[in-house]
Symmetry: C2
Subunit: 273 residues, 2 copies
């Protein structure tokens, strides 16, 4: 039995979703049926929305949970006529914040803002392009412009972590895959373009079995994805991290959000937004 | 004069930040000095944090705003001894939600969760890899596996939008840049691999002047970035969108978050997380 949830906004709905999901993920055992309804900006749309919520109430036999960030008071009051359970984060907290800051909020004024801030927006987009242009070691001459360079074996999570750090923090994150080509006599030697930027290096490692599973999805039953090969690569890379004093974490049980937060925490690199 | 803000968590701090920023962005005229303090998971770290907040209070002459999602009650009480203005979203809303859902939250139980959900995590990471592998028309044979294919002139915002839709919605988003090579007699003809997937196409366009500025940052004073060239390309592409009935939006004044939300709203494509 799923519980219906509605995220309602007269804009993109991104803020209502971010706020609501942060609360909902604290309820583990419950399955939620999420409905995101952006651009509810007319009375007609509000009426349709209220009807939809009422239908869910009848079908589920339980009040749908409602997170809304609708600014227009008339539209809100139409939505509030329905049989739902509203969680009103803005109304609850903006008044005390307004008093403390001595300043009216855009929400109160009627020009609610999305969580995107213009001044940091361009740096985030530039960072995404940087991450793509400097992914997977395709280029190494830009490493001097990078804020951080992730290194590790192929498919240990470098690329999505770089993308996330670019989008979320505006950081120019490059990455370089350590392969057998970087090995001599079973030992990895840092290539010159990494050695020159050693203070920017951060290592990702991963459990060999998980790596083998991930690689098998890409190239089944290949040497590349065999457990023996994965173990050999992971061992060599971990040895390198220790030998060269490169800070590193094991990505196996962390999401890219967690890996990124930990990298900032360990390195002390400042976010750009 | 900046107002100090502290986001405090015993985990990554991502939830505290998301909640707090959604509220803070409603205060336009105020500049905030943001301090993200993740992994505050010992009494000692809590004491250091409280001291840091008190220092900010003395320097600023104003109470720092505090958003925290610390689960441990002892750690929280140490932080609460400081001279700050706490906004307690979890405490305020989780109790009513617990009553309504008839279920204790992980927060109450002491195992607070981040906003990352495991079951949708893999699809998001796969989608990021798909977006990268199918960026900028480098491959077209996977277009049949795409949920959506963005088309438009070079540097109109296709790539970061695809990346965002992958990370945020778990959608497999490909993109293809329309260039002069796709033109015959001044008219654009859809290449076969796009024609076959026409129901998945979504167009991005952009004001020619803004495009010219963006391109100039990349290749200054080139034909590629000249206003005349940008106008010609944009005109041809917009003509194509209309002729072929391809839904499209002008990206000039929207963030990638807004573009993505609008694309979902216009096409009705279902997010995968």
């Amino acid at each position: 039995m799923k519980r219906s949830v509605f995220f309602i906004s007269d804009g993109t709905g991104i803020t209502a979703e971010a706020l609501g999901n942060a609360l909902l993920t604290q309820f583990e055992g419950i399955e939620f049926e999420r409905n995101v309804l952006p651009y509810i900006d007319t009375i007609e749309k509000a009426q349709t929305t209220a009807e939809r919520i009422n239908k869910a109430f009848i079908t589920d036999g339980q009040k749908p949970i409602i997170f809304d960030t609708v600014v227009d008071k008339e539209i809100r009051s139409v939505i509030r006529t329905c049989n739902g359970f509203p969680i009103d984060i803005f109304e609850t907290f903006l008044s005390p914040l307004e008093r403390e800051l001595g300043h009216q909020s855009s929400y109160t004024v009627g020009t609610s803002h999305s969580i995107t801030e213009e001044d940091t927006y361009k740096s985030r987009i530039d960072a995404v392009h940087f991450a793509l242009d400097n992914d997977d070691g395709i280029r190494t001459k830009n490493f001097r412009d990078a804020d951080i360079i992730l290194i590790g074996v192929s498919r240990c999570g470098k690329t999505p972590t770089c993308i996330y750090m670019a989008l979320q923090y505006g950081l120019c994150a490059a990455n370089y895959p350590i392969t057998e080509e970087d090995m001599r006599d079973g030992m990895i030697t840092l290539p010159k373009f990494l050695k020159e930027n050693q203070h920017k290096l951060f290592g990702l490692t991963i459990n060999a079995e998980n790596l083998s599973n991930i690689r098998n999805e890409r190239r089944a039953n290949s040497r590349y994805s065999s457990l023996a090969q994965c173990e050999m690569e992971v061992d060599s890379v971990e040895e390198l991290f220790i030998k060269e004093g490169i800070p590193h974490i094991n990505s196996t049980f962390f999401s890219i959000e967690e890996i990124s937060a930990r990298i900032l925490n360990i390195t002390g690199i400042e976010r750009k937004n």
